[in-house]
Symmetry: C2
Subunit: 498 residues, 2 copies
């Protein structure tokens, strides 16, 4: 089979456009063929649109982008492509006819794949020339972002064609899932379709709205499914004895009317297959170990979704707003007490630990995470001085001008940490802060940051005096902390050298 | 209904333990009641175990943790709790009997909720005293991390009880989904069960293994389901005309044998309900807008999963390793050319853009992200000088000692950026680098970083001379770049002041 430099696309709808964007991004030239000439503008638009998200998927160095050309001559495309992907409408006869025609122009070592959602490869390859180089390769929308592609061979398909296709799809960043046997809907769409038909029944019966049914997945099982499937998840739910326990406990539910789909008989043979399958998936990892992995990704995904204020991320964001509100009220009291001289030490406003995702290849906390923790400390201190959401919405903000970070010790994953913060200097437009990051267990100093902030009117885009109350609270704190000796790491900023 | 300060748990298995961990974390006291005294040690272990992940969910300030107590006296628990959550085995009669008994000890204004997966609230409340304060509140495993809880009232349940329950679950960080009508399995488990029974059929028929079926979700639809359900996803798949187009196109598939579950007749009424429902979910957002949101979260989730090397994240990681390998080979050539004096300017080894998730509440790139980009530049430069995975696996590494960052301009979301890097100084154990971060469109300098690195033998935990080849490549580069004027921002490090 050929090394793929040029991908030929047969049909240019949403799926064809997705294939084009993905292939071009990873350096493959694309010849898009469609009998309708107006599809040229369409596919160029689709590629440009996909590029926005695709360009953020990885920041690893990429080969030069591929070139996109368009033709209404399917035969010309077939003569030039190293690999052909068909994406025309889901009509068996239309696909059979077109695939047969194209196969007469494509050299015999060119793999031809169909994106069909559910048609069977043996039916599709029936009238083709060299049908052994044909397979189904079913992608998912958006093709340029989702890695899954199901590979299904028909009766005439050669192993060589499946292997060549698998190599090509892996090259363009995908996960090629080889399906053992052709069945209508392959694997994924059978599972999706069962869920979808149950949804249609429930909407039809007036039990729930589409939005409620979506919520029933998005806030719960959907988060788990982003990285573990139902089988592994149920294996975990069975505690120490895994899937076998789970089937013993929930086996009776299979007879209950929880869906309109009748379950198969839970025979000993089926139980054994489920148990063996999930044991292979666990690959020697204990239930406890897999639970930790599940918990870690569930936390991380919710934190990511928070940025988009969607699903579980919206729930988390609303929760945090309430907590910050309550926390700010309580801590303002502590700050005032400190400023009044009751506790003139550095303020501990941030307690955290080294999260596993903060750790680099050396097993230590990554440089940028230090600045993240110091930034959290600055935010907490400023919030308690009165720089809250309302203040920011008024168009005023503190911008970082300069930062000096020093490192004294290493912090390892899950190490508890805290930040002790001081106000070194404040005038009407500037604040200079000093943070010391320390280990929770022995108070050893891990790193320090000295930071200079400028107060700006963000709308006007220039420096402006800060609110009197904010300045007064910072100044009171600075005065209270002035009794402490100046840290040896401070005084390295150009804007404010010692 | 009461303000909830103390949660009473009836039954202490996996679900009871999850409720305990979540409630305690958000400041609610918990009295766990179980007739088996050995469950006290069990639930304390479960809470401690959950705390690892739960403590990383949010870094917002929390109220003081709740206190956990245990009793084998169900009546005593019922007399002290402000809210009772039942989690005993899924046997109708056992639940009816226990709920009835407990209801005789709990004051009438105490809400009693059952965690049942699929039993009907009307059946469960049958023999209770004050059955109007009873409802089903069905959570998902792990209860301490997944926000979903389905609220289902029975025939006797009051709206007041549902509202009080909704307030309580929201307080402990959950998303309360009110289910309109009681049906076996509520909403979520009906959808999960349809998918699960289709899995069992496929394993039973020998079509696929449990692992293959899990993969068929995890690398594709599962990523989408983390934030959008099937209905909204299919609305998007229908392009400009949304769900109506989608049903027209895929309606015929409902008759195909894609699952053993028979679909309902696709009547005009059902179509209208699906269209109206998804239109309400779109809430005025165009298909294009929703696509962008979907693409953004798909990118971000895959990047998060990469950290755990799981599912789509493992695919992405493998892709990046290959790309870095290829990129390193190409760039080593550029580095050598630069060192040979062919292009003695600062090296551009990193090109990126301000990713949407890097932006803070001011609309600007967050401080810590600057250090992330500078870190990428350092990594790239060192990789090309020979500090690669193999080098690191040999136990040698460069640790950051000191960093000085200055800011000159702002960078907004999606702004293209590049880093120009220089070697200022190198000896056998130390390297001093200088990076300038510039805007792609006008080459304006946005920020600078001067960084001092110490070469260490990580196993021995002390400074050690670097590899001769690495040092030679860095020295050649430093010599070639020495003709450039020293940047005015450089020279502020204590370890190496000008």
């Amino acid at each position: 089979m050929r090394q793929v430099r040029t991908l030929g696309l047969l049909g240019t709808g949403v799926i064809g456009g997705g294939w084009a964007a993905r292939a071009l991004h990873f350096g493959i030239d694309v010849i898009a063929a469609d009998v309708k000439p107006e599809m040229e503008a369409w596919i160029r638009g689709a590629v440009a649109n996909a590029e926005g998200a695709l360009s953020r998927l990885t920041f690893a160095p990429l080969p030069p982008k591929g070139k996109l050309s368009f033709t209404t001559d399917l035969a010309a495309m077939a003569r030039q492509a190293d690999f052909i992907q068909e994406n025309i409408p889901e009509q068996l006869e239309l696909k059979q006819r077109t695939l047969a025609a194209v196969s007469r122009h494509a050299p015999r070592e060119v793999v031809i794949a169909s994106s069909t959602s559910g048609l069977m490869p043996s039916d599709l390859q029936r009238d083709m020339e060299c049908p052994e180089r044909f397979l189904v390769a079913h992608p998912f929308n958006p093709v340029y972002l989702l890695p899954l592609v199901e590979l299904v061979g028909g009766k005439a398909t050669s192993d060589l064609a499946i292997e060549a296709a698998s190599r090509f799809y892996t090259y363009i960043g995908m996960h090629a899932l080889k399906v053992r046997r052709e069945v209508p809907g392959h694997l994924t769409d059978r599972l999706q379709e069962a869920l979808w038909r149950e949804i249609l029944h429930m909407v039809n019966d007036g039990v729930a709205s589409t939005g409620e049914l979506d919520d029933s997945i998005v806030y719960g099982p959907g988060l788990r499914w982003a990285a573990m499937g139902t089988n592994l998840i149920y294996h975990l739910a069975g505690s120490e004895t895994g899937m076998r326990h789970m089937l013993r406990q929930f086996g009776p539910c299979l007879k209950w009317p929880w869906t309109r789909l009748e379950a198969p008989e839970l025979t000993e043979q089926l139980i054994d297959r489920m148990v063996e399958g999930t044991r292979a998936q666990a690959a020697g990892r204990s239930i406890r170990e897999l639970e930790r992995l599940r918990d870690d990704y569930l936390v991380a995904i919710q934190q990511v979704l928070r940025q988009f204020n969607i699903g579980a991320g919206a729930t988390l964001r609303a929760l945090e707003e309430r907590l910050y509100e309550a926390g700010a009220a309580a801590a303002r009291g502590a700050l005032l007490a400190a400023a009044a001289g009751d506790s003139p030490g550095a303020l501990r406003l941030v307690e955290t630990e080294v999260r596993p995702e903060w750790v680099d290849y050396n097993g230590h906390m990554t440089d940028s995470r230090y600045l993240q923790v110091f930034g959290d400390a600055t935010d907490a201190l400023l919030r308690y001085a009165g720089v809250d959401d309302a203040y920011r919405r008024s168009g005023r903000a503190l911008y970082t001008v300069e930062t000096h970070v020093t490192h004294q010790a290493e912090a390892r994953a899950l190490e508890p940490l805290y930040v002790a913060s001081r106000v070194l200097e404040v005038d009407d437009k500037r604040v200079r802060l000093f943070h010391a990051l320390c280990r929770g267990r022995d108070a050893a100093q891990v790193a320090t940051a000295e930071q200079l902030y400028l107060h700006v009117d963000a709308t006007a885009g220039k420096a402006a005096a800060m609110d009197e109350g904010v300045r007064a609270r910072l100044a009171a704190l600075q005065a209270a902390q002035a009794r402490l000796p100046l840290p040896p790491e401070a005084g390295r900023l150009a804007g404010k050298a010692r």
